[in-house]
């Protein structure tokens, strides 16, 4: 209780410029927002290698929630519960589904949206929905000489082959393009397999959507995120999928197998690969998605 010698110093900046300065001054600071990930890492307490903690709870501007005609800007320290409440009336259905599932209510009231993205934690279902919807993130990070600010697609951030905690960097906001879900030609599909809290290495999230373009063309988007490895996003830009094609069960099986090959190819260069059982389950979910699309079309 009284081992003050190992007690880290807590920095509580109120401005983002102060956080930038702290990145330059401190060697190995730990960013603390909700703490639901950091506190569950056994090695982080008491960890003498982390002499200073930057508590970003009070940084102004990080708790904003702005909605315009083209996009929604969500500050990084907004809790998942708060985002869920604020966006209940206008968020796309896949995002609402991802916000309402996953962790228990009490945890959602502490965990922040920035933390959910920055770490490979239990909220990867939210990340899957955000990647699928084409979200961008604004990041502040220290390059070694100066602190810079960039806006990058979330898919680029997550495609670094191993989702990780940002070192000397901070996600300040999530920018989500506005979606027009009123269009009756649009359909979205969301499925979580396994428990992300209890066993992330056996679970994944699948998010799919389609839009009818013209008479027989389908624009299909499907994103699968393996929590501990990475994601695979299929965007059918070449219009491979056709309405008559997905109406036959054997064709659906064929499309499922080609989807499997794509996943295996995507993760072939990764150090860790999704195990066969998980990929099999993912193919079944993809086929289920195509069947659901088929059902709606007929």
């Amino acid at each position: 209780m009284f081992n003050g010698a190992f007690s880290p110093i807590i920095q509580t900046p109120h401005l983002i410029t102060k956080v930038d300065k702290l990145f330059e001054q401190l060697n190995n600071p730990l960013i603390f927002a909700g703490g639901t990930h950091i506190m569950r890492c056994v090695m982080d307490y008491p960890n003498v290698l982390i002499p200073e903690i930057i508590d970003i709870k009070n940084v102004s501007g990080l708790d904003k929630f702005v909605q315009t005609e083209k996009y929604i800007e969500i500050g990084a320290v907004n809790t998942i519960q708060r985002v869920k409440e604020l966006g209940d009336s206008f968020f796309p259905s896949v995002l609402k589904a991802s916000l309402s599932q996953g962790a228990p209510e009490i945890v959602k009231r502490k965990a922040t949206i920035g933390g959910a993205i920055a770490v490979n934690g239990v909220y990867y279902n939210l990340v899957a929905a955000l990647v699928h919807l084409g979200a961008m993130i604004e990041v502040h990070y220290y390059t070694g000489k100066e602190t810079v600010q960039r806006t990058i697609p979330l898919s680029t951030f997550y495609d670094s082959k191993a989702p990780r905690l940002l070192m000397k960097g901070l996600i300040t906001k999530v920018i989500l393009p506005q979606q027009n879900e009123m269009n009756s030609n649009k359909y979205s599909y969301y499925r979580e397999v396994g428990s992300p809290v209890e066993d992330p290495s056996k679970s994944f999230v699948f998010v799919g959507s389609y839009e009818i373009e013209g008479i027989s063309n389908l624009a299909i988007d499907a994103t699968v995120l393996f929590s501990d490895i990475g994601f695979y996003k299929l965007s059918d830009k070449n219009q491979v999928f056709r309405i008559p094609q997905i109406s036959s069960f054997s064709e659906i099986k064929f499309l499922g197998e080609s989807y499997r090959r794509n996943i295996e190819e995507k993760f072939s260069t990764y150090k860790r690969k999704p195990d066969k059982l998980r990929v099999d389950k993912c193919i079944r979910v993809f086929e289920d998605f195509l069947l659901a699309v088929n059902e709606r079309l007929t």
Binding site: I10, M39, C41, Y45, P46, E85, S89, V107, R109, V197
Partner: protein
């Protein structure tokens, strides 16, 4: 780091390791009790406490000491021993269902907190800086047509999601919903 906070209505003003989890502190301060278990954040839910200042239930294993400056913490065993909890105990008798010895104190605290939230119908947010905006959003949500069935489902989801934190299998979702109903009725009386 010097931290001053209220623990079960008693003022604590001591030096703590700044990133020490609250459940370690509770174990140290109350050495006779071994109820503040540590699952290292695996969400066993047995270390929950009530943060009365923000009216939030928090997991003490995920709360570092530096976040407790000026907080008002009530532990489940203290709450269970108080008169305030008696109506929940009566509700258990009403439906003839009692949680197991391991989780009864925690569940009692959760039932009381849920009843509070459902009764006031206002969900507190951590940060109230843009409360005007928050109220606008609440109005926008209110204008969205919501069937009574949808509303009931929303409440059920909230109750079950809150209790899902406690991994003890002594109660089924049906038991939890019946007890919550009895608790709400007792509270109204």
């Amino acid at each position: 780091m010097k931290v001053r906070f209220l623990l079960n209505n008693e003022e604590i003003d001591m030096n703590f390791n700044s990133n020490q989890p609250l459940n370690y502190t509770l174990m140290e301060l109350n050495s006779k009790s071994n109820r503040y278990l540590s699952c290292n954040g695996k969400d066993c839910g047995l270390c929950i406490v009530l943060d009365r200042k923000n009216d939030e239930i928090i997991q003490s294993c995920l709360t570092p000491m530096f976040r407790l400056q000026g907080a008002d913490i009530i532990t489940p065993d203290y709450f269970f021993s108080q008169k305030v909890a008696s109506y929940v105990k009566v509700a258990y008798k009403d439906v003839n269902m009692i949680p197991c010895d391991e989780c009864i104190q925690k569940r009692t605290l959760l039932f009381d907190w849920i009843a509070n939230v459902l009764e006031t119908k206002t969900v507190k947010v951590n940060n109230q800086k843009d409360s005007a905006f928050y109220q606008q959003m609440e109005k926008a949500n209110e204008t969205r047509p919501q069937s009574p069935r949808e509303k009931v489902q929303q409440y059920k989801d909230f109750i079950l999601s809150t209790h899902s934190l406690i991994k003890c299998n002594c109660m089924t979702p049906g038991d939890i919903l019946s007890i919550t109903e009895a608790v709400l009725q007792r509270r109204r009386h």
